[in-house]
Symmetry: C2
């Protein structure tokens, strides 16, 4: 079986694709890569009550800049469920990444978001889903690992009218799966993406800047640095070296 | 591997369980059965913009009557996605069931709803999910089949912190999987459930009665009849025999 990462995006040329677009760096780069490959893109963003609502504005700006066919924002308030530093009153860590699954993990988030993408794909006749999960994520988040992506793809075939009737074969594309942040930054530049439109910070300052200290800001900064690409981000603070 | 239907509900005694409770007959009976088995029940209902919003009121009434520990209603407006007679401007069939997957199929609905139940379970420390899918559903809806339920259970282990860290083994219980509507009615009576609190109609009349003609009303009426149980439902019309 071909795994999600081994599929060349060139196969998406001329095909309708539903991309999960959070407004962060990874999903924006994955979307820009698929656009460049000639896919007809619908982006799906979820307004899930995330602490960093600024991310959704970034998704909207990206959808306009990339001239996507359609951008659907689904409201799904995960604060009713809680259990994460992003959706409940739990502190976002600022002291740098630590081993294990971080408190910013949102229970079953990618399962939920891929389910929404699957629903939208089935409702609109698309068979290809795109998600920007990557090696850095899946060292910390369980629902970013290749085995998860493959299990979801299998479920998709069983869960849908199109899968059962044999009129569609759903595929989940995860073109960043084995890339680190520096490689993702380089891919974004190669795809012509304005990386300054993306948003990474989990805990923006009151004046709307990247905090500079949360895990996501640290990874972003390191990615630009290691890629040798000027970092367009306005960070409020610098981590102590 | 034990399949969802073969697991005795007695194993749920004293355990926290997250049940999908729609307000319909099936999920109410499954919930009452788990209650009777001694589970500590949290019910999850989804306000998904369904045409038959009356169903949600039924879910609230059932949660009170069954004295569940907790009832969580998650708003998730699937009208943004469409593709179903229940969420878009597509007619609900009234001429009786026809072969194949009906237009009331909501794309990827059970995948979405089980994902929400999984998220709530993980956030609250439960490992057991309960869903009222059954043989009648899965002759028409793809995401009610045993293979779907099993694939979701497999995904759940890969998708979650608890599954990956080995602190939880998520199970999906589908105690009605091989029952028809008459058997479900009988199980509900045996579990002491007031079946008059449940709601089945996809297309209620303006004065808030069961239409009597949609597939769901027809199955409900037939179920009570075949079970030999008085039908408490106020149907607006009768199908021509």
């Amino acid at each position: 079986m071909t795994t999600p990462v081994e599929r060349p995006l060139a196969a998406l040329a001329g095909r309708p694709v539903v991309a999960l677009l959070s407004g962060g760096l990874d999903s924006a780069v994955a979307t820009a890569m698929a656009m460049q490959a000639g896919a007809h893109m619908t982006a799906l963003s979820v307004d899930y009550g995330q602490r960093h609502a600024r991310e959704l504005e970034a998704a909207r700006a990206l959808a306009r800049a990339l001239r996507l066919d359609r951008h659907v924002v689904v409201p799904l308030d995960l604060r009713a469920i809680g259990g994460s530093a992003l959706t409940a009153d739990i502190a976002v860590p600022k002291e740098g990444p630590s081993p294990g699954i971080p408190p910013t993990y949102v229970p079953a988030r990618n399962t939920l978001f891929l389910s929404l993408a699957l629903a939208l794909a089935e409702a609109t006749g698309a068979q290809d889903l795109l998600i920007g999960v990557n090696a850095l994520d899946y060292s910390g988040y369980p629902d970013c690992r290749p085995a998860f992506v493959e299990a979801f793809e299998r479920l998709a075939g069983l869960a849908t009218r199109a899968g059962v009737e044999g009129t569609a074969r759903f595929r989940v594309h995860a073109p960043l799966l084995h890339l680190n942040k520096a490689q993702i930054v380089s891919q974004g530049i190669a795809a012509g993406l304005d990386l300054g439109l993306t948003w990474s910070c989990y805990d923006p300052t009151p004046d709307g800047r990247h905090c500079g200290l949360c895990d996501s800001c640290r990874l972003r900064r390191k990615g630009f640095l290691e890629a040798g690409v000027p970092d367009p981000t306005d960070y409020a603070r610098c981590p102590t070296p």
